[in-house]
């Protein structure tokens, strides 16, 4: 192979890639227009039209976001707090479109592909453990928030770490690509943290903590409770510290689809005003949950109570 040819092949490869992304960029709006053309009801939107036409709603779910959306016993049936809310939305869509036999199709999403899959039309509604933030609002719309988390520390009971100020000279592990990682790197010097380790996922982070490679594991409190409950000896670990940052979880839907967003928001708000949300919360956070019948024992935070009293779709 000559040098010239190798340069050409690079150019070809990159041109191909750009071409592919450009293609998908063009195709999707065309399909959307078509759907809009067949619409009879002016108030319905792209997603509602798509659902009506196909007779199917595609729900995005997670496989291990305990207790929000995860696979417990049946590999084809996600369960969880966010999944229950998702089903409330499906009921509302059935009523709105007058389609009692609307079919549900489940589509597994990961933290890497959830946003592309919602924005390219594969998934109609994703409810899992997705934080509503400004960067994501550029790509998708969020429903009203349904959970509020704070970033705290998981540590061994005898480690002497009681809050973020106790981390001086110590090693801390957090999961790569999370808001916690970003926050703690910004404040590393100020808190005098010895070393920050960014692990691949939550299980990996907890493994670093159990292995003694880090003194504490910083993450969303509810996720820490989930990891703790999975440990061989859950009583060895405790969640400590005052959360320096809070985040709100919401369901994701396609950007600018006001008609569908209205249906989603109304369905979620209805569970708030009827008080049904409290039953759902108790079921998933304060009672034994499948598959191992572990009780997370996670009290409803004041922030979440405030969110339920006055629902909103902002990031703070």
């Amino acid at each position: 192979m000559t040098h010239k040819r190798s340069v050409t092949s690079v150019l070809c490869a990159s041109a191909l890639m750009l071409g592919l992304s450009a293609c998908s960029d063009n195709k999707a709006p065309a399909a959307g227009e078509k759907a809009a053309g067949t619409s009879t009801d002016a108030a319905t939107s792209g997603t509602l039209d798509k659902i009506k036409k196909s007779g199917t709603i595609v729900l995005g779910y997670r496989d291990s976001s305990i207790p929000f959306s995860y696979i417990a016993d049946n590999p084809n049936q996600p369960v969880g707090y966010a999944h229950d809310l998702q089903l409330q939305v499906v009921d509302a869509v059935k009523k709105k479109l007058n389609m009692p036999d609307l079919k549900i199709r489940y589509n597994l999403v990961t933290s890497q592909n959830r946003i592309p899959l919602v924005s390219n039309g594969t998934v109609d509604l994703e409810c899992g453990s997705t934080t509503n933030n400004k960067e994501r609002q550029q790509q998708v719309d969020f429903s009203v928030g349904f959970f509020e988390v704070g970033s705290r520390l998981l540590t061994a009971k005898n480690s002497g770490v009681k809050d973020f100020t106790d981390l001086k000279g110590k090693k801390l592990v957090t999961t790569a690509g999370t808001t916690s990682e970003r926050y703690i790197r910004q404040h590393q010097q100020e808190l005098g943290i010895g070393e920050i380790i960014s692990a691949k996922d939550h299980a990996e982070s907890f493994l670093m903590l159990q292995n003694g490679r880090a003194a504490a594991f910083m993450m969303d409190d509810i996720l820490l409770a989930g990891e703790k409950s999975k440990a061989a000896d859950p009583n060895k670990w405790e969640i400590v510290g005052t959360a320096p940052i809070h985040e709100i979880y919401g369901c994701m839907l396609r950007k600018g689809d006001t008609g569908f967003k209205q249906v989603v928001d109304d369905a979620i708000k209805a569970t708030y005003s009827s008080g049904e949300i409290n039953k759902m919360y108790e079921k998933w956070f304060q009672q034994p949950i499948p598959p191992k019948n572990i009780n997370l024992n996670f009290k409803m935070s004041d922030q979440l109570k405030a969110l339920i009293a006055t629902p909103h779709d902002r990031d703070q």
């Binding site: 192979m1 190798s6 690079v10 992304s21 890497q112 390219n120 039309g121 550029q138 003694g212 490679r213």
Partner: protein
């Protein structure tokens, strides 16, 4: 697709210190090169020794070579790395274990585990290629060498290896590019190489398609450069009559 494109994502501030995402990508690239270089050096040295061992008359040497290849080539790289980083330290004497885990720091030990782990894995593959190169030579050359009064060491040094290494240059080039691509498994143990930086930037900015494309192009450029260099080497070392060099 309802996607807001932002190709200038690399010049945005990360919000950590005053770094930009470009600096993160470059840091990731740096670690990629460090891991690839260390791993490839280990792989070439160890792989050549093992490959030669597998062709020696000595039965023990052959058994060691075969055993190594069986273990290191048949266990997935990801699992090997997991074992080196999470399992092996637990069986070290406590003094060494404390030094390894507490004094060295997790990022250093992760980097060492990843480089050495990848090197040992690639060595098994290089070993097989070296063996193939040696076995591809006509057996008459070996006999002729012995007839001339060469010792086994001299035979390998002056007759076998100069020819077999030239023969295996093309498959070694692909092994080299594989080694570069396999550095991405280092993200498993927490090394901030380019794939883990890519995932982090994608999470922070949500410009997933842009950043994945940029990193893809970086990988293509690195590997095309390496292949070009190897092709040049093939041409320089080309022996007329022995496997077509670089054509």
């Amino acid at each position: 697709m309802n996607y807001s494109w932002n190709w200038s994502v690399l010049w945005q501030s990360t919000g950590v210190g005053d770094s930009t995402y470009l600096q993160w990508v470059l840091v990731g690239l740096g670690w990629l090169l460090v891991i690839a270089l260390v791993a490839w050096s280990i792989a070439m040295v160890l792989g050549s020794i093992l490959g030669i061992m597998r062709t020696l008359p000595n039965k023990t040497a052959r058994a060691i070579g075969t055993g190594y290849v069986t273990i290191f080539r048949n266990i997935p790289l990801l699992i090997q790395l997991f074992i080196w980083f999470y399992v092996v330290p637990n069986f070290l004497p406590s003094v060494i274990r404390d030094w390894w885990i507490n004094d060295l720091g997790a990022n250093t030990t992760a980097l060492i585990s990843a480089s050495v782990g990848l090197g040992l894995f690639t060595a098994a593959r290089v070993c097989e290629q070296v063996r193939t190169g040696i076995e591809a030579l006509p057996v008459g050359q070996v006999n002729a060498g012995y007839a001339m009064g060469f010792s086994t060491a001299q035979l390998y040094r002056y007759v076998i290896l100069p020819q077999s290494f030239r023969t295996i240059l093309p498959p070694l080039s692909s092994e080299l590019t594989n080694c570069v691509k396999n550095t991405s498994v280092a993200s498993l143990v927490g090394v901030a190489e380019i794939i883990s930086q890519m995932k982090t930037i994608s999470e922070y900015t949500q410009n997933t398609i842009e950043i994945y494309t940029i990193v893809t192009v970086i990988f293509i450029v690195i590997n095309v450069c390496l292949i070009s260099a190897m092709t040049l080497l093939e041409k320089r070392l080309y022996v007329p009559g022995l496997i077509a060099g670089g054509k």
